[in-house]
Amino acid sequence: MAHDSSHGVNDFGLKIATVNGTGSASANGLLLQALFRMGVPVSGKNVFPSNIQGLPTWYEIRVNADGYTARSPDFQLVVAMNPESYARDIEEVVSGGWILYDSSRELSEEFKRDDVTFIGVPFADLCVTRFDGSRTRILMKNITYVGALVALLDIDMDVVKGMLQEKFATKQHLMEANFIAIELGRDYVLEHFDCPLPIRLETVDATKDSVMVTGNAAAALGCVYAGATVGAWYPITPATSVMDGFTEYCNRFRIDPETGKKNFCIIQAEDELAAAGMVIGASWMGARAFTPTAGPGISLMTEFIGLAYYAEVPSVFFDIQRAGPSTGMPTRTQQGDLLLCVYASHGDTKHIVLFPGDPKECFEFAVAAFDLAERFQTPTFVVSDLDIGMNDWMIPKLEWDDDFVPDRGKVLSAEELEQAERFYRYLDVDGDHVAARTLPGVHGKGAYFTRGSGHDKYGRYTEDSDEYVEVMDRLLKKVESAADAVPAPELHTVEGGSRLGLISIGGCHWAVLEARDQLLRDGVQVDYLRVRGFPFSSAVERFIDEHDVVVVVEQNRDEQLRKLLLLETNCVKQKLESITDYGGQPLSKGVVLEGLAPYLEALAVEVS
């Protein structure tokens, strides 16, 4: 409950507390989109239970004119629609803030605070007077709070109406009901309270080159653009919407116009083991295939991942991380699968892993993952998380180069095989550690036995130590050679360099960036590197070398990124410090600043 008066026009945090299964998600989506269309940078974080109906759920909206979209736990306004969670919700408003609540039932004394302003609107009663049917009343109650916010925050009514018109273009009665509900809320507030509040909106022009999308939708679209034709999966939160997206975009872009048949095949497997096997089978045939899952699925897939690694079958895995271990908190975010993915499977294995930091990179890295998988003939992971995957993010518009040619790697054609004297599957003829592969059905000379058992460089079964080691050593070099092919780390350095460096990964980026900007404004010089791929590029080790202290910021308990850096670079162990945040919420800048404080003091970093 920090006192905070620095917020105002186009700069505040709003939290909406509702009950899940009541239709609040679409009301919140409407609200977020309205702000975005007013040209104001926004982000929305859905905090939902692992449940279908009846439990508390929250939606956090951050409005920030400077474009900072990381989660911020400072809420100037809370919309408290769920009496079950009143205690906690009212507690969360910053001192001097506002609470909009349903005054159809009187607010119990215990919840009252005298440092905040209560705005009571009888949402339920208003709906009872205007709508029939209990379901309609529940649904419309959500729209009435949007109406109240229109007045309180000065949201452009034309924008809201325009959106409702688009949304319900073919459902006139729904459009009218929504209009009525919006006006009910708005008119009541205008009549009873001073509007707008000091925290409010003003139309600007800061979002015209941006779009609003979830990371999972963007990743799915990346798979379509990469030319993936086979997707296999088993439903799991928070990865399900990747396949929902792939299905939607394939149905839109991949139906053969002449026959109406599908230029893709999506298989809902019996479990994640099977999903992984299907991806490997399809990739073996030469298709681009992928599976989206979360940590529990990766755990199940590991035997197959080892097979794909050892038999060198390109394959793409999306891990949309959630809070583990075990079932953990399926609807909370985390970065707990970093080590799992990098070393998935028994024996000596190591994989190419990409770490997108927002939906734009989900799209781009999805495309890159297929290229890397085929070029290096190995499993490739895109490791995202629930926050990136399921929340709406404002990102720069995606771009596509129509001259893009996918890198299918070394695949011998029928003609090449016809001319070749013999074909040996695992023979590295040009010293780049990658051997040419052949696809089934192309030519008899290309036939070989794909196997997870010991094999020599000719592809023959072996139990001979030297022959086995020779292949294993090449595999290590092959994957390590991908260090310069994975997305390069993103560097933010100060002129003249700093003694203190920050390293982070994935969706931590935005909070770290915001924290660093604040430090810079305060005259504290900090360099920053965001890891975007594994194996680590040499730039990562160099960055650590060049700093006296490097603080690794990540969202898991066990400092997995820090440990990976210790294992996979030659850095000095004592240099690497750690900030971890693993309670399941997206990272916010406060956590970073607080975690950094002791290092700032110890290093006595120049403060001007």
């Binding site: 990469a226 086979v230 975009y249 095949c265 490997i280 399809a282 073996w284 097979l307 008899g444 794909t450």
Partner: protein
């Protein structure tokens, strides 16, 4: 599997088939299984079936899990791509491969451990999905490769080599396949090549999941007295319910079966499977009748063999999916990628 290349001596007098190949061209590397292992006879039957069907070797994809049985894809059609995957998971590889390239001829070889224990789920779901493939389960009642433990197909009362008696109910893969809606269900015996070859050929021609349970004795761990999967026990107790004759597309149908005991079923590719009833009242198109019949014969200790159930029409996995006829691997990238204009259009909706 150990790898021993077979000498490729040409036998000039060996007859060649319509694609100019001799039966030797359908062989693979030398088997490393125990001498007398039933699995090797299944391999021989497969070689014969491929040869007789004039199949181009490189159009075949051979898959397996792990086990002695799962080694056998190395021993036939060496010019076909093979995939020796992980224990019990071949059906998933086959489904994915078939999804990507529906034009190849898929043959999966599994064992009773591979399909009925660790891989039971995948086996069931491949049937439900009706993946277009020939699926051969080389059934010996034990885990051969891990040295003779009972498998889930071991009958009640059967004894292991060390004398333990199995008391648990077996899983009968034929019964299971029938209950899951399999459209082609057969049982045969590795020691009966005359019966097995036409069944394998019919299975290859079938559009959908063709399941063949082959009793294939393990000479090393399960061929003793007291075993119900030994050569002797199988020979004594098997009883052919139905005789199968496979007439490929090109062949002329000479004999005219007018007596009504023979049913001619036209397969997806135009070839014909002829089923001659040995048992009068048996109807290979009546799923529940077949199930009842099998449970009766089983209770008498008989092993009913033959192409027990066939339903030639019906959709396979691609039929359910509505996939294009062209293999997905052959669709050019330009067709698959929607391009920048479509991306712009889509993103207009993301505002």
């Amino acid at each position: 599997m150990s790898y021993i290349t077979k000498p490729s001596a040409r036998h000039p007098r060996l007859p060649s088939n319509a694609v100019g190949l001799t039966v030797r061209d359908y062989e693979g590397s030398m088997s490393t299984l125990c001498a007398g292992c039933g699995h090797d006879s299944v391999t021989a039957a497969l070689v014969q079936a491929f040869f007789e069907l004039d199949i181009e070797p490189h159009r075949v994809a051979k898959l397996s899990g792990i086990g002695c049985s799962s080694k056998t894809p190395a021993y036939f059609v060496s010019e076909a791509h093979g995939f020796n995957s992980v224990h019990g998971r071949m059906p998933a590889i086959a489904a994915g491969a078939n999804a990507a390239n529906r034009d190849l001829l898929y043959v999966g070889i599994s064992g009773d451990g591979d399909s009925l224990s660790i891989g039971l789920g995948q086996f069931c779901h491949a049937i439900r999905r009706n993946v277009n493939m020939l699926y051969v389960l080389e059934n010996n009642g034990v885990y051969g490769l891990t040295k003779g433990q009972f498998s889930a197909s071991a009958d009640i009362g059967t004894t292991s080599k060390r004398g333990e008696v199995n008391e648990q109910e077996p899983i009968d893969p034929v019964n299971l396949a029938l209950s899951l809606g399999a459209t082609f269900v057969a049982r045969s015996f590795s020691g009966d090549k005359a019966q097995l070859v036409p069944i394998l050929k019919a299975g290859l021609a079938h559009n959908g999941f063709a399941f063949v349970d082959v009793i294939s004795p393990c000479v090393t761990f399960n061929d003793h007295e007291g075993s119900t999967k030994s050569y002797a026990y199988t020979r004594d107790n098997m009883h052919e319910v139905i005789e199968t004759d496979f007439v490929p597309l090109r062949a002329e149908i000479k004999t005219d079966y007018a007596d009504g005991s023979v049913q001619a079923i036209t397969m997806h590719d135009g070839s014909v499977v002829k089923l001659r009833k040995v048992t009068e009242q048996y109807d290979p198109n009546d799923r529940s009748g077949v199930v009842d019949y099998l449970s009766e014969t089983r209770s008498r200790g008989e092993i009913a063999t033959g192409l027990l159930f066939l339903e030639a029409a019906g959709a396979d996995m691609h039929g359910f999916q509505g996939t294009v006829d062209q293999p997905l691997v052959d669709i050019p990238y330009e067709t698959l990628c929607p391009g920048s204009a479509a991306l712009d259009q889509l993103q207009a909706e993301w505002r």
